[in-house]
């Protein structure tokens, strides 16, 4: 079994090879050649990933569950009794992630041919994309928490490099720096969590069922909630949970395909994936802490949805929408109360719902971002006010965007409906309060998405802006990925996901347990929100919107300014850390500590200067002092 999957090593090595090749020799290649190298490598990776999935889910179940497979695991760095291993772990969630990453990444590779056409540094761009893909794949197939951390840092740096791809632009530099530092700050907690976990459980491995590991883990039960929560903080940084989300909206300064790949579909769900990966521990040893995670998620979802309603930059709306949707996944994990399904109620339905939503969200959010890329490509601006009436010029973008909007709003039969409905079911199973909160946020989602949709494709056309340069679709390289991902969005809802992924590995037939009342309610609420958005934003003139804004100027401004959270951070980093810690420390170092040594040197020098007078070389002086000394001695003797 293990040997059958050894080829999965290629899934990691091919993008790495492509990165090294493009990084070292890319500048000697033409744009087209460099792009082709990256894309072909990724194409092979995608084929291998699909093949892995087919083989894996085609293999027989043992006790009703798919067994984890470890094709390779080597000791990379010995750490005394512990060991830092590197390897590949295939289990239902990592295989699903392979599909998500390779699919979206391949589409982004193709799309970038059009979007990045003629840009300076095209080869570098593809090199970074390969680096990112390799790191992300390494993250999901990690066999232990330390390997996950290693690749976690690598995705962080690839994200940094790609956000700052346009390195001559000030906002891009600032955004890349911010993204890296904020996530690094969170990673510090992740690291401390790993250290605690490793010390008390004597293992880093994800193999929780191994007899010895299980015994050690049970022995460390008292510390596990702390360790897991610290690790979650690391995940909260990457997955943009409140209040560590501030880097994600700024990260939109990067090229749009990058936003689609990294900041919508893959890297930002790493935190969710991490919690899912450690789920057996969470549910067994830290269920209360897990519910804290759920509430953090719920607040984040609400906050981001509220902010998204007031943004005017289309990528920022999508960014806040991403934050909100990832928080949905977090909530789904957090509301789990049992390790198994099938006890009559949905104790761990959330686990499956979360992974399912991760999967469907990756597809439709990538579509939305790639559509946004097409629009930006066409009008050369991110602002909604520069668009309006775009449906006439860009039919493909229009239809794919609309389908993705319907999916994210939770309208059947699109994929988002199914995954979101499972999340709502799980939330209601946990507590009605959580259920209604999440339903409310789902309604907000539908509202701001359609506000965005009408703002771009309907509403007032910015004729002035469009007349200079008629907007048009990009070539097939840009429309093909849109259509491909939209097909996923259309059919993904019908994948029997519960049969593949569930908390205890047992096949779970969601449709058999489907709560039709809940489905109808959530669908109805979404439709009402859409209708409301249509009423407010569809027309050429938008009297209702203007009136609302005029009625609540402060609320609108606060939401537009993202509740001034960035300013708070700015204050803490610049005023407190720079001005009140680093500057005084540097001053202290130069003036007090160094001053002390300079004082020593000065004192020695002065003392030498004083003593120097005695070595005058004149005999009379020596004779005088000699005499003086002799007299003193005589006096002492006499006395």
């Amino acid at each position: 079994m293990e040997n059958q999957f050894i080829f999965t090593l290629l899934i990691l090595l091919l993008p790495l090879a492509s990165f090294l090749f493009l990084g070292l020799a890319g500048h000697k290649l033409s744009h087209k050649a460099a792009g082709l190298v990256g894309t072909i490598c990724l194409g092979i990776v995608a084929v291998l990933s699909y093949y892995t999935a087919i083989r894996y889910f085609g293999s027989p179940r043992v006790d009703g569950a798919f067994q984890p497979v470890v094709p390779i695991n080597i000791s990379w760095l010995p750490l005394g009794k512990l060991s830092f291993d590197m390897g590949i772990l295939l289990d239902p969630i990592s295989v699903v992630m392979l599909i998500v990453i390779s699919t979206v990444s391949l589409m982004v590779h193709i799309y970038s041919f059009g979007y990045m056409h003629g840009e300076r540094g095209f080869q570098r761009y593809y090199a970074f994309l390969s680096l990112f893909t390799m790191s992300m794949l390494g993250l999901v197939v990690a066999t232990n928490i330390f390997q996950m951390y290693l690749f976690w840092e690598l995705v962080g740096v690839s994200s940094y490099l790609l956000i700052g791809f346009f390195y001559t632009l000030k906002p891009a530099i600032a955004a890349s720096k911010k993204a890296f530092i904020v996530t690094r700050f969170a990673d510090m907690f992740f690291l401390i969590g790993i250290l605690i976990y490793g010390f008390y459980t004597k293992t880093f491995s994800f193999d929780f069922t191994d007899a010895e590991n299980a015994r050690n883990i049970a022995g460390a039960a008292f510390i596990l909630p702390t360790a897991l929560f610290l690790m979650f903080l690391g995940g909260a940084g990457k997955s943009a949970m409140f209040p560590l989300h501030i880097w994600l909206p700024d990260a939109m300064e990067g090229p749009t395909p990058v936003s689609a790949l990294i900041h919508a579909a893959t890297m930002v769900v790493a935190g969710v994936y991490q919690v899912a990966r450690l789920f057996p521990l969470w549910i067994q040893y830290a269920p209360e802490t897990l519910h804290v995670v759920a509430w953090i998620g719920a607040f984040t979802a609400f906050y981001a949805a509220a902010v998204a309603c007031a943004q005017s930059d289309i990528k920022r709306v999508l960014a806040f929408s991403t934050i909100s949707q990832i928080a949905f996944m977090m909530v789904a994990l957090g509301v789990c109360t049992e390790a198994t399904t099938g006890h009559g109620h949905e104790g761990s339905l959330g686990y499956m719902a979360s992974m399912f939503h991760l999967f469907t969200h990756a597809m439709f959010k990538a579509t939305l971002f790639l559509c946004a890329g097409c629009l930006i490509h066409a009008v050369h601006s991110n602002e909604m006010s520069m668009m309006g009436g775009m449906r006439k010029y860009m039919p493909v973008t229009h239809w794919t965007f609309l389908i993705a909007c319907l999916a994210i709003s939770g309208i059947p039969p699109f994929s988002g409906f199914f995954s979101k409905d499972e999340i709502l079911s799980a939330s209601f199973a946990y507590s009605p309060v959580m259920g209604w909160v999440m339903t409310g946020i789902a309604a907000m989602t539908a509202f701001y998405m359609f506000r965005l949709y009408y703002g771009i494709f309907w509403g007032t056309e910015n004729k002035e802006h469009h007349s200079a340069h008629t907007p048009h679709e990009g070539g097939w390289v840009m429309t093909f990925p849109l259509i491909f991902l939209t097909i996923f969005t259309l059919v993904a809802g019908f994948i029997p996901f519960g049969k593949l992924v569930s908390a205890d590995g047992q096949a779970y037939d969601f449709l058999a347990h489907f709560d039709w009342k809940l489905g109808a309610t959530s669908c109805l609420i979404a439709l009402v929100s859409i209708a409301l958005a249509t009423y407010i934003y569809k027309g050429e003139k938008q009297p209702v919107a203007d009136r609302l804004q005029a009625a609540m100027p402060r609320l609108h401004k606060w939401a537009y300014k993202r509740f001034y959270l960035d300013e708070v951070y700015q204050y803490v980093t610049h005023q407190i850390i720079f001005k009140h810690i680093s500057k005084p420390l540097a001053w202290f170092d130069r003036h007090i500590i160094d001053g002390f040594f300079n004082f020593l040197a000065w004192g020695t020098h002065e003392l030498g200067f004083e003593i120097r007078g005695f070595q005058s070389g004149s005999i009379q002086k020596y004779a005088f002092i000699f005499l003086l000394g002799a007299i003193v001695l005589i006096f002492i003797m006499i006395l």
Binding site: W76, G80, L154, T168, I181, F578, D589, F597
Partner: protein, 506 residues
């Protein structure tokens, strides 16, 4: 004659060669041949050592030899290597080799002092006699004064004087400490291994004496290891030193400090190390965090790197003082990693300074478009410095942290977590720097015409990056090599347990 002595013999022959040759070409060929010889020798030594170690896994030192030098005073010239010194020799030869290419256009006198300095460094790492070690230590220090004072930049006389005086002050402590150990251990031998072998679970050196000599020896070496508050020579010294000297100094010479602390202070006075280690642990903890924060507001490229070195070298001493197999292995890995990374950094800073004639980060911007090769390498150096996986820093830091965490009491835990914060602060100053000088659009028209790296500069930089990435991607064998060297020292110290009444924080 033991073949380890070739490490000192080659630099001496190089000195002779340099003295004889006349033109620049001659100087270059002597330097390149000599430093290549050293590099080959150290690689050969590593291979031989691993083979020999497989045969003889127990003796603390291999390839030992001893000759009477000043017999009445029991001073001998004794050599021998273990895993730690092999790793250090490898590091030194890499730095000397690349340093040669970086200082390609310097004159003969410069290279004479440079070679003398490296003779001292190699001698230090092969010696196992305290007196010989001390002598080589001084041989390595003195040339620094001239190298900075004559070929330096900025307020070079001040910097050279400060550096030399502070390090000499450290040597004074050290000498007291060494003689204290010598007499405390019976006054019969200066050989480290012999003294250590007498321990066998008992105090060879009287406990009261250990408590005096340990702080002196540790602080004496600690000055060179940039231990807070004796680190202030580092920013001024590095800022004024010529490029290759900065490389050698930060890359290798500062490692003498950590190496000496471990090999002499802690190995020979285990009980005192257990009892009083906490004082220095607090100081190193301060170094780690303080260095990182101070680096955040500096505006001179070299100052940033010097404070960064304070922080990273602090981590070396921090790892050692945890008195734990894993942490100490990590500390030695960190010596290697910091040596290579910081050498790369100083090399690049020198190259950039050679072109722009400024090191003030406020006066440079957008260099990426003008010197792409140097800038890309600078980014790589920065990422290596902030501990990105795939580079050596990650391996070293993680090993130290995992090891430190094994000390389960609150005192050690708090310090470990404080040290962990440095990884964030490091990211802050590195990215600030990269964002300011490399990214953006170049506005200074003088900078627009600057050229990218020459072939010898490229060669040196690529060699260093290759080593850093090699250590970062395949750490297994080097970690094993070091682990074997660390084990006897740690087991020697852990025979004793700390007297908790001496530590108010326990």
């Amino acid at each position: 004659m033991n073949f380890l002595s070739i490490f000192v013999l080659i630099p001496l022959l190089m000195l002779l060669g340099l003295w004889l040759v006349k033109d620049q070409k001659g100087i270059r060929s002597v330097m390149v041949i000599g430093s290549t010889g050293l590099l080959i020798l150290s690689v050969a030594l590593t291979v031989l050592f691993l083979q020999e170690r497989a045969v003889d896994p127990t003796s603390p030192m291999l390839f030992t030899a001893s000759f009477d030098w000043i017999a009445p005073l029991h001073i001998k010239y004794s050599v021998g290597v273990d895993g730690i010194s092999v790793a250090m020799l490898l590091l030194s030869s890499i730095i000397v080799f690349t340093g040669t290419f970086v200082s390609w256009n310097m004159n003969k006198e410069y290279f004479l002092w440079f070679t003398l300095l490296s003779a001292g460094v190699f001698g230090f790492f092969i010696s196992i006699d305290m007196f010989a070690m001390f002598m080589f230590y001084e041989v390595a220090l003195i040339p620094m004064y001239l190298l900075i004072g004559v070929w330096g930049t900025g307020p070079k006389e001040y910097a050279a004087m400060k550096l030399t005086l502070m390090l000499m002050g450290g040597s004074a402590f050290l000498m007291c400490g060494i003689f204290g150990i010598f007499y405390g251990a019976g006054g019969q031998t200066m050989n480290i291994i012999d003294i250590a072998n007498q321990l066998n679970g008992a105090h060879v050196i009287d406990l009261a004496q250990q408590h005096i000599w340990f702080p002196l020896t540790f602080a004496g070496f600690g000055v060179l290891g940039a231990l807070f508050p004796f680190h202030t020579w580092s920013p001024d010294g590095h800022a004024s030193a010529p490029t290759a000297v900065s490389m050698l100094h930060a890359g290798v010479l500062m490692k003498l400090g950590g190496y000496g602390c471990f090999r002499i202070a802690m190995y020979l006075m285990p009980q005192a190390a257990q009892d009083l280690g906490w004082i220095f642990l607090i100081l190193t903890g301060i170094s780690v965090v303080y260095g990182a924060f101070s680096a955040c507001v500096q505006t001179d490229l070299k100052y940033i790197n010097a404070y960064s070195s304070v922080s990273h070298c602090g981590l070396v001493l921090f790892g050692i003082l945890m008195i734990n197999q894993v942490a100490a292995t990590g500390a030695v890995l960190q010596m290697l990693s910091h040596g290579l990374t910081t050498a790369l950094f100083f090399a690049l800073i020198g190259m950039i300074y050679g072109r722009t004639h400024t090191r003030d980060i406020r006066e440079m911007t957008g260099l990426m478009r003008i010197m792409p090769f140097l800038s890309v390498c600078y980014v790589i150096a920065g990422l290596a410095n902030l501990g990105l996986p795939g580079f050596s820093g990650f391996v070293a830091e993680m090993t130290i942290f995992v090891g430190s965490f094994a000390q389960a009491d609150t005192f050690h835990r708090v310090l470990t977590i404080a040290a962990c914060t440095s990884i964030v602060v490091t990211a802050v100053y590195i990215l600030r720097l990269v964002g300011k000088i490399l990214y953006g659009v170049c506005t200074d028209e003088h900078h627009l015409k600057l050229s990218d790296a020459t072939w010898e500069e490229r060669f040196a930089v690529i060699c260093l990056i290759f080593c850093i990435a090699g250590l970062g991607t395949a750490p297994f064998w080097i970690s094993n090599l070091i682990d074997g060297g660390v084990a006897p020292i740690i087991s020697n110290i852990t025979k004793f347990t700390a007297d908790a009444s001496l530590n108010p924080f326990m």
